[in-house]
Symmetry: C2
Subunit: 340 residues, 2 copies
Amino acid sequence: MPRFVSRTPAITDVAKLAGVSVPTVSRVLTGSVPVSTERRERVLRAIQELGYRPNGAARALIKGHQSVIAVLAGATTRYGYALTIQGIEEAARLAGYIVMITVIEAEDPDTVTKTIDLALANPVAGVIVLKFDPAGIATVRAMPSGVPVVAVAGSRGSGVPHVVLDDTTAAMTATDYLLQLGHRTVHHIAVPLAGRRSGRSAGWRKALERAGAEIPPLMEAGWDPHRAYEIGLTLADRDDVTAVLCGNDELAIGLLRALHEKGRRVPDEISVVGFDGHPLGALWSPALTTVQQDFVDVGRRAFREVVAMIGNEQPPQNSSGTPHLVIRESSGPPPEAKRR
Amino acid sequence: MPRFVSRTPAITDVAKLAGVSVPTVSRVLTGSVPVSTERRERVLRAIQELGYRPNGAARALIKGHQSVIAVLAGATTRYGYALTIQGIEEAARLAGYIVMITVIEAEDPDTVTKTIDLALANPVAGVIVLKFDPAGIATVRAMPSGVPVVAVAGSRGSGVPHVVLDDTTAAMTATDYLLQLGHRTVHHIAVPLAGRRSGRSAGWRKALERAGAEIPPLMEAGWDPHRAYEIGLTLADRDDVTAVLCGNDELAIGLLRALHEKGRRVPDEISVVGFDGHPLGALWSPALTTVQQDFVDVGRRAFREVVAMIGNEQPPQNSSGTPHLVIRESSGPPPEAKRR
DNA sequence: CACACGGATGATAACGTTTTCATGGGAGGC
DNA sequence: GCCTCCCATGAAAACGTTATCATCCGTGTG
């Protein structure tokens, strides 16, 4: 088992052991300027022997430019969050950047500023904030100026550049689809709000308004599928509920479980539509109709955008993601339409 | 929209604007030594005005110790991986560390060394490798010495300190449980191997051997639930298959879907047991019996271990996680046992 | 009144690397 | 054989911050 001695070897140690000057070692490392074969050999051997590894901090200091992107997010394990981070990491790695992840545990100003300070205490080239929830919104608001920041969100916003998945349109598409199947109205189990006038719940409401349909009270389930399950148990007893749009697929699955337990048939009696395109949704019985979002792509776009900001370049044309409705087994016409 | 000027303000600019010396600005920033109220005011105003932000690279350079933990993983979005990373991040943030994530895309030596170099080009205090798959194994093997490294794995290993979830015991527990229910043998759909003599598949085999049960050929499904679904379609036609242990819950769900489509009743005709304790498994119909693993905790333990290595301290007592079997609806006695 | 003491402050060194600049030597052209 | 040019090499500067040390001033004590 290796011991980690108090002082890690520095470039001077390598130079001394190899019998060359410090810049020569540096030249061997960077390969910027040719070094005679014999000296290079000696240097490489010394590096090997000492287990030398260049100090990144010193390098970053002199180079001036950083190559770390900080990602601030309210969570990392939820499907959409994890996939967005995957997209960022992938694009970053291919471009030679490294991704730092920091979770914003709460939305109170104290936690938010403390977390931002922790993240920005490190040499960071740019920041990407996942603005999918209240904590994300508070973070974007509290970000100090002077650092390139990009927000990833379900809808456009102001202050910093936004890279978006059009949640509002997506929710409208799903709601319209259910209305066109003949449902009088669509109920909605919501994830935490990420904006009052935009986002999934807003799209749902807008579509109902436009169609002149009744707008049932919004049911908030947070992020917990079990909460959606509980809501589902009460919903199952109601005849007037024929279609439910869920804020994400996890909630939809909780709801499906409750309806199944209560013996309600999906989609014959109740239609359920989820949100996100969670891969397990396709394996459910009935397979979940959902609005698929390309989270990985939005992550990539966010990275490209923040890199453009770092370089003071023109940002790439920022198309918003085009969500598409994946119709599977959990949705269909309402019972009264069938009876006719 | 803010512009990012070519030269970001440095501490000298702040000192000049505030009319104080550079160390005084530093003292205001760190709070290490008291500064007169009047000067502090001037400094803070100058910082505000210039939008000054200390250069982390310079700080890291002089402090000598880094506060970044690099996490190398074969994936980030899969349930176990994501939760382990969550545990690491949480523990790290509370201790004032920051987590860098880098994905090892493939297991070939070229990709592995290139990715390691990318990650270690940054100032890193320690490294945690998620050794859940072949890529992780290759990474641990290729890690240069001199850097504190901890592996998170399903079983103990050599070379670097390991923090483990005891997958082998866990798989044996699950297999024993099924055998005790009366199943003649247990089939197994496996995730990619993380060691030939240990891990989930090894535990399954060991339990069968010990019980003197027939050892059916192992079915490899990779990480893809759809592959498990396809395997399930063929399995559904066989009478001799009464119990299946799956390498993770996603595979189990794919299998359940296939059995459902084929009209096979679970658990009456076939028992299915998953692995991990995925929260959606509890919402399945039938709810999935699974081996719950505390991934978040193993992440926390890995962080504590790597911090101990950094400080050359005695590592905390490294208990392995105690997985426990969560019996739900998808498992029960085989059909012949019922008939009697 | 002399002296010691302590707190705030500034000058300077230090961290480990890369870059810039100067130097020396060898090869090639006349 | 001499001059020029180029290439490899080393010395020194630079990056932005914190740590160390010395200095100065004011205050309290004998």
